[in-house]
Symmetry: D2
Subunit: 365 residues, 4 copies
């Protein structure tokens, strides 16, 4: 049986190791994907640092990936019912097993909170098989939702990567309206994709507060009207800057994508009365933060929404948008850095240090 | 010229004094209201304690009131264009001068945040005339929005009082759906009216956490399925109680009406994933509170809304509901305590101590 | 093998026959339900008349039913993951096989338009097994969504029947607000449940136009403020009556539940400017109707929604409401008529003639 | 007193005449606008044809206009409270006197249905003064909502004209989501601005069915992915074309902007299940149309909205967007034809015949 190389995090805090894994036998309705590109995102850094609860080590990271269907057993179809063929380029929703049978799925219709969902590269571990993208091949279990890439450019798609559905969900749930001024807190991959989607959704001006400078430069290239460095400004300067940019009112919509608890309070503070705040940067536990609910929430008549995960609809539309050369042009402006499987530790270190905008693993290289 | 008795707060921390005020000359489109009942609410306590910024002392408290039109100069009409006549019983929206010309009114459509609005009994002071309900007569300035009481019982209406539009706004903005379990934090006048409106809007079960015991008893009488005393329970007990009452999930909707900053965080904590939280109890500044935005907002995919003030639509529909004997029956269960003008200090003390459910000033007594 | 009696429509226009069917072998995760009560609704009349396209005759009618779990093979769980036991009283969502894999389910999130869904008693035929409630036993296929009845009274629940989730869906989608005047067109089972739910959702006044008189009487008993007989009034009278009941403006919300195309246009006409119209009565094709889109739609700034089917969330919450004696009391006012399996033709005739408010089949009688 | 030239429609069906009007005396808070450009839209054609009810002839047409403040009496301020100065270039909301005191304004919050509103150039006639833009000067009555043009190019703004707020309102109310396919019926000024706004709001593909060919060409230049000539295709061809363009499902959103009643039904037919339909083309009464409410509304689970008028928020944001050279670039692609006051009849004829995309009156030429 053929051997497949995969990059594995053996346990929290341990370095990534490249291991040989046996090619699995395919179940009915499953497939083997020859991975072309997979991504390295902030979550992968946290996985290596052991900051996520309930993760089954050892595991192969890499949740959003693109590749070529190497082998299919039985029938796998897209949402229109068209069967996939071996050799086709596809991506897939990293979330698997949303159950469609529990209270969260069926009554609350909050499928991203379904307790049965599993995520490739995060909550599936090596014991579940080749379930991460940092590997030459990935096992697409039955009922994995795949999408044909067609004319979608792999690099451009991966420039969005897991930030693509996350940011689309955030902008949609934030309720951006035509003519809005949208403030984006954070200039990492999610923040930058939020800049693009906020403009795509009709924001007239998008402002960005983030760091480091090369990412603010990226935000400006993507269309942000103004950007401020969070590291070289104090709170008073930032608050004043936002007011100055918004005729003294604050942003119509603020989308937080930073990871820092304090940014949640800033998001409320920088938003105008009766505005909307969307929190999408608090995916891991970084502790508490203090705020004044009279001044920053009740009196301002704000709407503040948390935004967890994304579903097939966000992912599907993200891919559709990527298939349009004009609509997806902005993502081609984002700089990508490629790493081989054996360079995964270097990739994690570069992402952790904010040295790169977007790191990709190219397992066949 | 006739003299009119009015209860006046001369300055922060000073006792209320009954003063004689001259009857004003009426402008075109204005009227003089013979006050039948006015209310004493938590805001009046804060006014006396000097806790609201920008309030023009001396002032006559009493924002929501009912009375009889004593004199009208020129024409005053209701929203259907029907003119009012002297002798009719009316109430009026305490908010005046929402400008319909500023950015907040016209672009954001956030009229409760219009910077030009004035509130009778709160931001209008004695220098503006007889502008509070704790007086024998009140001056209804031009463009004050009056509503004919018709068959509405004065006592029943005042049992709702300013809590009526506030609670209606809160329940509507919270987005209660048919079959929801709604948790109400707080059992003061707003909290109790929220219990009523949540049931009226289709909540299947309403839970209440508040104090003191006589108000929890009131909540149960109004239809709350269960109530817990916040003073005799610790955080773990409360959180456990909510889970027990909600099949382990938390409330679908939580409405905070307490005044305590910590309740804002509890509201998030006690709400189920993808649920809705409405904050309407933070009308004055009681300082900061600390929370974990990962655990209590982002991961839970919550929607949290601040709710400031109310507009004519909330007030009008509140009065319509009060005109229906069956729909408004619940308010008749609330105990009222009446005070004369000269007993205003006692009324404030009783409200501050939570000794009464609802205190009213009867200026003609 | 035991024989089971079932009432079967052999083909369009043919009379119902009682046949003997063999007890099926149970698949893993399936069960056999001993049917206590099943309903006879307007759809069943249409089935017998051959008015629904794509229906697989012969078939056993009866989509919403209650009964006792006679045999279970393997594990069947509720939405909270609790397994069902033999002997428990349950009902089940008549819609089966919503696929959770197609564009309608996953991208549009329009699950009631999933092309793969099947409905017990309507689009499942006898060839699919014991798939209708007009039988001593019904086969609950794997992945049928069952709900434990617990304290829910079977008769009261069946007084709602299939109208329960349909009406709940309609009232929710119509967007009824606190204080609204809601006009219901139609006084059949759906119309009457709409009256109840509109009041439960906070409508201040519910008006009803329908027929015959005994159903209008039922509407009044359920809380309708006024009711008009559609058969004894002409269009001018009706339009004038609505204006008179609504201060000359029209209803805030109109919900059409009649089956007559002309009622769709009346629904628009009887609704106030910027109001909401919900169409839930056009489940079968009764042809075309003519309207003036300038006067009745565009100039009025209406929102008109079609409402197709219902999903598990509507059904589940309907059952929860039925478990509350106070909340479900209104349904106990509806008169029920019971028929034995052998009386199915009589039941259909009585429903078709509007002679009964609600007909039930009691297969064990 | 100076004489001012104005183009007047004396009565229905009469030709436009240029008349001399005396310069008015200014009330407090009013101004005289030296008109730079005013537009000729479909409504003006209907005015001349006498197809609008309740219009006070004689009247000066021209509702949306730009010009320079010639004289101001007293103070006129913008929504931020900043006073206007003589000499400034401005435009103004053509709707005046939305009352902020009636049931429609205050309870329903349906200000575009306020019965007291007046529209410059349409429901204001010559008896009300210089109240239309087809004049050298226009009288800005007190409380007219003006907006400073600043860097906004007059021609580009007028390329939007009254279609700008109308189309923005339509696209917003239609609820276009990121990735949607939007079908626009009609390629007149409103339809073309809808194409632009639908793309600005995040539609991935915009389709257009209209005529004549030069306007379809304009739609394609503005970004429409495909366009079909309504005059050279039959219903079957059109319906087939839409399915072909939408993977067999129909458009996610269809916006009707044609004026033809039949297009309302086509809009429903061409939209996918659970999609959204927006009707903005039925501003005048062109009679009835027939449709099947089962097939085209209820079974499809559609949302169909009428959209009447626009308010200050739509107009203000339209101007803000026009102030951004990149965001407004599309409108610069629309061909404009200028006419002098004395050529108003020719302008009307060319618009009626669809010979020009957008006709402007330049009163100073």
């Amino acid at each position: 049986m053929a051997k497949i190389l995969a990059a594995v995090i053996p346990e929290p805090h341990a370095s990534v190791e490249v291991r040989e894994v046996s090619e699995p036998e395919l179940e009915q309705g499953s497939a083997l994907l020859e991975v072309e590109l997979s991504e390295v995102c902030g979550t992968d850094v946290y996985l290596q640092q052991g900051r996520l609860a309930g993760v089954p080590y050892p595991l192969i990271p890499g949740h959003v990936s693109v590749g070529r269907l190497d082998k299919i057993r039985g029938r796998m179809s897209d949402v229109a019912g068209r069967p996939f063929a071996e050799g086709e380029r596809v991506t897939f929703l990293d979330v698997h097993r949303t159950c469609n049978a529990c209270w969260h799925c069926l009554v609350a219709k909050a499928t991203t909170r379904c307790p049965h969902r599993k995520v490739y590269g995060i909550t599936y571990g090596l014991a579940d098989g080749l379930t991460g993208g940092w590997a030459q091949k990935l096992y697409l279990k039955p009922d994995t939702r795949c999408i044909r890439l067609g004319e979608v450019d792999s690099e451009r798609f991966m420039a969005g990567g897991c930030a693509l559905p996350t940011a689309l969900h955030a902008v949609e749930r934030a309720g951006v309206e035509l003519g809005d001024t949208v403030l984006v807190l954070g200039s990492g991959p999610v923040g930058l994709s939020v800049v693009i989607f906020a403009l795509m959704r009709g924001a007239l001006r998008v402002l960005c507060i983030g760091a480091p400078e090369h990412r603010l430069e990226a935000a400006r290239k993507l269309g942000a009207a103004a950007a401020l460095n969070v590291e070289t400004s104090d709170e008073e300067t930032r608050a004043g800057w936002v007011l100055e940019q918004t005729e003294g009112r604050g942003a119509d919509v603020t989308i937080e994508a930073t990871g820092a608890p304090v940014a949640v309070v800033q998001a409320m503070r920088y938003t105008r009365d009766a505005g909307r705040v969307l929190i999408v940067g608090q995916y891991t536990d970084h502790g508490e933060v203090s705020f004044n609910p009279h001044l920053e929430l009740n009196k301002k008549h704000l709407t503040v929404r948390g935004c967890w995960g994304s579903d097939f609809s966000h992912f599907y539309r993200g891919v559709q948008i990527m298939a349009d050369p004009a609509r997806s042009a902005a993502w081609s402006l984002l700089k990508l850095d490629r790493y081989r499987l054996g360079e995964a530790n270097e990739a994690l270190a570069d992402v952790a240090a904010g040295k790169v905008t977007k790191a990709l693993i190219a397992p066949q290289a």
